[in-house]
Amino acid sequence: MNQTPRMRDARRSTPMTRSIRGFTLIEVVVAAGLLSIVGLAIVAFVTAFARGAGARARISDPALEGALLVERLRAVAPALRAPLASDGETAALWLSDSVPSRTVHLSELGWLRFDPTMGDIVLERVADVHFIEDRGLETEFEADDDFLAIREDSARDGLLVSTILAEGLDSARFVGDGRRGADELALELEAERATARVAIGPVVPEEPLR
């Protein structure tokens, strides 16, 4: 207890004493600056990720998908003439009168169908290559033929090719049977608990004459 001033000065100057001293003001300021920058970066990252997720959810908006479906259908079948039949799950369409006859031929048929496993709506038709390989494949149909059964037969024979027109859907259902004199054929789409309805078919349908 009886330390002389010399002894106190000696203890204060030992390395142990220096190691436990506090941070300087500059060190604290620099550390705070770095922490704030990192924090801001993390916040920006999280915010951007959240916005991206939200956007991806909203792109599955059924109204947008419906509009895109109509656009893609117009591109694939610019001369679409009329819907022919529907059972809610599948709709048969007369895509064109490319075999000039005002009647329906196999090469002119297409089927819109919802694929529940993939959440897609696809347009199916008989691949052109099959008509080249077999001239007898082309068939003319009457207006009141069962066009949905024709799809089943074609699918069973492995003739169909598909084009995706809409995706990311939870469910889809055709409304109206598309036959002559009936209400217009529409497609109800559901995604992310939202629904939309689009009309399928040209503004002025041209139905088969025979």
Binding site: V43, E71, A79, V99, R102, I132, G136
Partner: protein, 577 residues
């Protein structure tokens, strides 16, 4: 002492590592910042998609609206197509439609060049643009005829198959449009039948494929689109009276002075730049390669035989008059772009396992009888005309891209052969697995099925002069032109055929010393063409002077042929991903 040692090393180890910690921290901060900023910069896909859809809809509406404007302009007979051609096919540019703009171009479907006043079938391409997003709409159609002299198609080339006797489709026979033709996109029905309009002498196997075809029958023209559709659904094309089929032109008798008696038989091999009139046969030997250059005339007293493995290439306007038989066996006859080849045969014609047609742009095509063969100039480059009651046989997987005109002969297409073009004969038999793929470019809508053609009077009756055309020769065509003021039209490969009869007239003029050179086919042909044109002009002038409206037919355009067919829109351009 220790302190001194440390100081000589510069820094202690602890002090040396403190700087690296700061660097690592800065790098981590930088990476995190970049990552965050890049993700933060990610656009809201919903906004982008909505923007794309909105501008795409505006561009689409602009293109669709401008397409209607373009169609209206082209359907106006006063539209100057030559001016459009001078502007590179641009019909209009910068047309404002709402907030978008539109540009329209017009191409000739057959040539791919800018449309001009000779164009008959065109494609309209309209591009609508809104904020960098563009949509391109396309439509095709036949132009309404400009007010010019009416024309009449007298060689019945609007029919894929026309028989004056019987017509037989065996099992798996196929009649369809040539999908490679630029005009196939018009989706017009393919016509066939008997000249009489009867269907009694047409035998069709249940397994024959006749989709998209219409049979000729006698009846009134369709007067509106609804009736036209009804006829189409009934698979009929109606004309008021039976078709008059002119006989093929007959070559003039051989002149003894021109005969090449030194060469009873002639071989064609290598480059040929001369004409020949052999007394005997002419042959292209097996595996030989012959190239015919310039305007060439061969008048063969005997047979023309193109033997197995031979290759004959035609580079100019070439005519073979074969007074015996034509035999082409497992050979290749190709006609270069801009050239034509006519076989005028008095005997039989036999084509076995051969290719005869335009020079193939796809050599691997070899002999494609599936209907997918490349167009290669179409069917108008080759004509096989039989002037007598002979027989035309196309067999053993042969492919002919051309026209067969044999009104008095039996024509048989057999053993997986195909004709890309058209066939006219007395009795036509399309064998099992054989096909005729019609080239719609042969139909210029001035024939029997076109109400507005020069074959019909303004009241819808057949011109009496049509029935008086006995043969498709220049003399008959000139007389028809003079008497009616109607321009007779035949396929380009008929050109050499129609001048045959006129050559005799010209020969007399040559004898009077007008500078003609014997053996040079070009000059008589040119004079003959001038003669026919002069006759037509005289006819038109005479009718003008008498006040008869030779152009009145132009007002009666074929309304049913005026509709343009929309091909829809190309994929959108300029949209953000």
């Amino acid at each position: 002492m220790r302190s001194a040692m440390i100081s000589t090393n510069g820094r202690s180890p602890t002090r040396a590592h403190r700087g690296s910690a700061i660097l690592l921290a800065l790098v981590a901060v930088g990476v995190a910042t970049l990552l965050g900023l890049s993700l933060a910069a990610t656009r809201d896909a919903n906004v982008a998609a909505s923007r794309n859809l909105a501008h795409a809809a505006a561009a689409r509406a602009a293109a669709a609206g401008a397409m209607e404007v373009a169609v209206d302009i082209l359907e106006d007979p006063s539209t100057d197509l030559a001016a459009i051609s001078n502007s590179g096919g641009v019909l209009f540019d910068g047309l404002a439609v709402g907030g978008a703009s539109a540009k329209a171009r017009v191409h000739d479907l057959l040539t791919g060049l800018a449309a001009d006043d000779s164009s008959e079938v065109v494609e309209i391409v309209v591009e609508g643009t809104s904020s960098g997003i563009s949509q391109t709409a396309r439509a095709v159609g036949r132009l309404p005829r400009a007010p010019r002299a009416p024309t009449a198609d007298l060689d019945c080339s609007e029919f894929a198959l026309l028989a004056t006797g019987t017509l037989v489709f065996e099992s798996d026979a196929c009649l369809a449009v040539w999908s490679g033709s630029p005009l196939a996109i018009l989706a017009e029905p393919v016509a066939y039948g008997l000249a009489s309009g009867s269907t009694a002498q047409i035998a069709v196997s249940p397994n024959a494929s006749l989709h998209g075809t219409v049979a000729l029958s006698i009846g009134g023209f369709a007067t509106d689109a609804e009736m036209h559709d009804e006829h189409l659904a009934d698979k009929m094309v109606r004309v008021p009276v039976a078709i008059h089929v002119p006989l093929a032109a007959v070559p003039t008798e051989r002149d003894d002075q021109d005969r090449d008696s030194s060469a009873p038989d002639t071989l064609l091999d290598g480059y040929i730049a001369y004409d020949a009139m052999p007394e005997g046969d002419m042959r292209v030997p097996a595996r030989a390669a012959a190239t015919l250059r310039g305007v060439r005339d061969f008048d063969i007293a005997g047979n023309l035989r193109i033997e197995r493995g031979a290759q004959l290439r035609v580079e100019g306007e070439t005519r073979f008059v074969v007074r015996g038989n034509l035999v082409i066996e497992s050979a290749t006859v190709e006609v270069a772009a801009g050239a034509t080849l006519s076989f005028i045969v008095l005997g039989d014609a036999s084509i076995d396992g051969a290719y005869v047609g335009g020079e193939r742009s796809i050599p691997e095509e070899i002999r494609d009888a599936t209907g997918r063969a490349a167009y290669d100039g179409g069917a108008s480059r080759v004509l096989v005309s039989l002037a007598g009651r002979g027989r035309v046989s196309i067999s053993e997987g042969s492919v002919v891209k051309g026209e067969i005109y044999a009104p008095e002969a039996a024509v048989a297409v057999a053993t997986r052969s195909a004709v890309y073009g058209r066939v006219l004969g007395r009795d036509i038999r399309l064998g099992a697995g054989c096909a005729v793929f019609y080239d719609p470019a042969l139909d210029d809508r001035s024939g029997w099925t076109a109400r507005a053609s020069g074959l019909w009077t303004p009241t819808g009756t057949l011109r009496a002069e049509v029935q008086q055309i006995a043969r498709l020769d220049g003399e008959s065509l000139e007389r028809f032109a003079v008497e009616t003021g109607v321009v007779p039209e035949v396929s380009p490969s008929f050109g050499s055929l129609t001048v045959l009869a006129i050559e005799e007239i010209d020969k007399g003029e040559q004898d009077r010393g007008d500078g003609g050179v014997a053996g040079d086919a070009r000059q008589p042909r040119e004079r003959a063409s001038v003669r026919v044109a002069r006759g037509i002009l005289r006819a038109i002038e005479a009718q003008r002077a008498s006040g008869r409206g030779v152009f009145s037919r132009a007002e009666d355009v074929d309304n049913l042929a005026r509709a343009f067919i929309s091909l829809g829109f190309d994929p959108m351009k300029g949209a953000e991903e």
